[in-house]
Structure formats: structure tokens, C-alpha cells
């Protein structure tokens, strides 16, 4: 199952989802059995095909554990207009 940040909120995708095209910047989390991996994605597209295949193409995708929270806060302090309400 994948949780995709969509323009209308969080979209949980399981096999058998209706075909959709969607993505917004935010946190994408992939649940593989009991493994959860979180990524931060900037803009892009997520195609969910009718045959239960999902393709996610993002401009930039960073695993969340590679992002340093304090650095982000410092960056936001310098340029507050870049802060996105996620």
C-alpha cells in the first residue's frame, strides 16, 4: 500500500484502486508488508493503472531519514516564504 500526498489530502492506494493521475509535494510513504519507508517528494506525477500497477515519477525524492530537521529549520528561517504547510 502506498500513501500518496494528493491535492485533496492523503490518498491511500491499495491494489484494485481506480485509475488515477495525481501528486502533490509532501511525504510519500510506502508500506511493504510491515516495512514502512517514507520519502519526501517534490512535485511530480503518480499514475495508478487499472491493472493495479502504480508508477510514481517525482522531480526529487529524498528518503526522510536523509533530511536533517535542524538544517531545514535554519533554511526556513532564512527564507520563510518557502515554508509549505504540509
Amino acid at each position: 500500500m502506498v500513501i500518496i500526498p494528493a491535492t485533496t489530502g492523503q490518498l491511500g492506494v491499495l491494489p484494485g484502486h481506480v485509475a488515477t493521475i495525481e501528486l502533490k509535494h509532501g511525504v510519500l510513504s510506502v508500506h511493504d508488508g510491515n516495512d514502512v519507508s517514507n520519502y519526501f517528494v517534490s512535485s511530480g506525477f503518480a499514475f495508478i493503472h487499472a491493472n493495479s500497477f502504480a508508477d510514481i515519477v517525482a522531480f526529487e525524492a529524498v528518503p526522510l531519514d536523509q533530511i536533517d530537521a535542524s538544517q531545514v529549520q535554519k533554511g526556513l528561517a532564512i527564507q520563510p516564504e518557502l515554508s509549505l504547510n504540509i
Binding site: V18, A19, I48, V57
Partner: protein
């Protein structure tokens, strides 16, 4: 009387063994041909060293780019799954994007890319009319333009299609290739060139010795709309729910532009890999040729040297025997 003459002749032989009266050859240069052969051998050996070094450099560069290229193959596949690749689409404005290298000595990959571009041009401009079962390709009112990446294709295409070249970009590989650079490039092309279909021609990297000239087709949003409505491969594009507050036209435009930049990224990386691989094999074969040439020259040199020594020996011995006998 005769004996005195012979004795005098013998003395002349004994004192000046290296000059014969018939020949006007300066002293010590009886083996003039070995000098030439030796010079050739030196230059061939230097060339062999250079080509070996170039092969090593190309091999190391290839290793670096190859993993990047293989990873980038996954980037454009979702688009191919969604929108398909329709090389036979019939549109008015074709733009052919040819990807080639800036540096030479890389075998035939640039020529194959240029040949494919020229063939595509002919096909699309209708000078060779192709009737297929499904559509008529080509026609007199079609517009085709070139966008050229790399010096080599520019040099070849500028000769006969100068007026059709819309944009030409060189010095692509000065900095290591990354997506941001390619997306800026793609943005440039999209802004300056009007197109209905973009055809990207590049060499796909299959292995170090084999490259496949490939063409990737990207359609503009209007053409996608048209193809989706007419059914066929893109017919079920409408079955996808598009969430968010954008209209279908905007989504299609975003899709098309993103697809272009992804495909360009993959194409540029594949081309870089093919270039290094082709350079490796070209330099390898030229090192081998240089080695063969060196072997042949060594044989010639030894033969000439031994012949010269033998002639000297014969002269000395015949001179000595003329003295004693």
C-alpha cells in the same frame, strides 16, 4: 704490372673499407633505410601508447555513467506505460532532436544518428511517400525542423540542411550530467520551438560493443488529446481520474513537458554511455592495429639491418681475400 695494380687496389680496399668507388654514398650511411624504419617505429609506438591511454580513460568514464544511465531507464517508463510511444503518428510539425558528441574518435555512432535523422526527415517531409495500411505518412505541407545537441551532428547536418536547424547546443558534457541541467535544456527547447511531435534520436547503450540507434516520440498536449479521442493506444487515457483542481488540458501539458524532460535525460545519458563505449572499442582496435604494424616494421627493420651487416661482412672479407689472395 697487373699484380702491382691489384696490390694498389687491395690497399685502397684495406684503407677505405666503407666507400666503394662506384657509389656516391656519404660515410656511415649505408643503412639509410633503417633510419626511416626506426623513425616510423617510434611514431607508431607513441600512437599505440596514446590510444591505450585513451581506451583506459574511456573505460573509467563509462563505468561512472553506466550505472546512472541504467537507473535513468526507470524514469521515463511510467510515461511510456501511460501515454505509449507512437512513432507512426502523423502530425504537421515535426521536430527532430539529434543527440551527438562534441569530441571525435568515437567510432560511427554520430554518423548513424545523423543518418537516422536524415531518413526521418525524408519520411516526414513526404519526399518519399509511404502508404501504410493505417495512415499516410508524410505529405507536402509538413514542417520539419532540427534541434541539434553536439558538435558532430551539427557539422554533418549543416552542410545540406542549414535552414532547417532551429537550435543547436554544444558543450553538453563539460559538467557531469544531471537532471537539473537537462531539464533547463528541455525547457529551452520547449519554449523556443513549436512542435506537434518531438522525435528524439539517440544511440541506446546495450553493451560495450553494441549500440542501437533509437527514436523516442513525444507528442504535444493537443496531439495527445486528438489521439485519445480517436481511440487506439491512448484511448483509455480518459478513464484515468484526474484529481486536483487542474483542467485536463493543463494536466496534459504538464505530463507532456515532464515526459520530454525525462526522456531527454535518459537519452543524453544513454548517448554518453554509447560514446564512451564506442571510443573504447575504437581505441582498442587502433591499439591492436598499431601493435600489428609495429610487428611488421620490426621484421622489416631487422631484415634490413641484417642485410646491411651481411653486405659489410662480404665486402670486408672479399677485400681481405683480395689482399691475401
Amino acid at each position: 704490372m697487373a699484380m702491382a695494380l691489384l696490390r694498389r687496389e687491395g690497399k685502397r680496399f684495406a684503407t677505405t673499407p666503407f666507400i666503394r668507388s662506384e657509389e656516391i654514398v656519404p660515410q656511415g650511411t649505408r643503412s639509410i633505410s633503417t633510419q626511416i624504419v626506426r623513425n616510423r617505429m617510434k611514431s607508431v609506438k607513441n600512437i599505440q601508447k596514446i590510444t591505450k591511454a585513451m581506451k583506459m580513460v574511456a573505460a573509467s568514464k563509462l563505468r561512472g555513467i553506466q550505472s546512472k544511465a541504467e537507473n535513468s531507464r526507470g524514469v521515463f517508463q511510467p510515461f511510456a506505460a501511460l501515454l505509449g510511444d507512437l512513432p507512426s503518428v502523423d502530425v504537421k510539425k515535426n521536430v527532430i532532436v539529434t543527440i551527438s558528441s562534441d569530441k571525435g574518435l568515437c567510432g560511427g555512432i554520430n554518423s548513424t544518428a545523423v543518418r537516422m535523422s536524415k531518413a526521418m526527415y525524408k519520411l516526414a517531409s513526404g519526399t518519399s511517400y509511404i502508404h501504410s495500411a493505417s495512415n499516410d505518412f508524410g505529405g507536402p505541407d509538413k514542417e520539419i525542423k532540427y534541434v541539434i545537441l553536439g558538435e558532430k551532428a551539427k557539422a554533418q547536418l549543416i552542410r545540406d540542411s542549414r535552414k532547417d536547424i532551429e537550435l543547436s547546443i554544444t558543450d553538453l558534457q563539460k559538467n557531469p550530467l544531471n537532471y537539473t541541467q537537462v531539464s533547463v535544456l528541455a525547457d529551452d527547447i520547449l519554449k523556443n520551438v513549436e512542435f506537434d511531435a518531438l522525435r528524439i534520436i539517440f544511440n541506446k547503450f546495450q553493451s560495450v560493443v553494441s549500440f542501437l540507434p533509437t527514436m523516442a516520440t513525444i507528442l504535444s498536449p493537443e496531439v495527445i488529446e486528438r489521439e485519445a479521442e480517436s481511440g487506439g493506444k491512448l484511448g483509455d487515457l480518459d478513464s484515468y481520474e484526474v484529481e486536483g483542481g487542474e483542467t485536463k488540458a493543463e494536466v496534459l501539458q504538464n505530463l507532456s513537458e515532464f515526459q520530454f524532460s525525462c526522456v531527454m535525460f535518459n537519452a543524453v545519458l544513454e548517448h554518453a554511455c554509447s560514446e564512451q563505449g564506442a571510443r573504447m572499442s575504437a581505441m582498442d582496435s587502433s591499439s591492436r592495429n598499431a601493435g600489428d604494424m609495429l610487428d611488421r616494421l620490426t621484421l622489416t627493420y631487422n631484415r634490413t639491418r641484417q642485410a646491411a651487416i651481411t653486405t659489410e661482412l662480404i665486402e670486408i672479407i672479399s677485400g681481405a681475400s683480395a689482399l691475401t689472395g
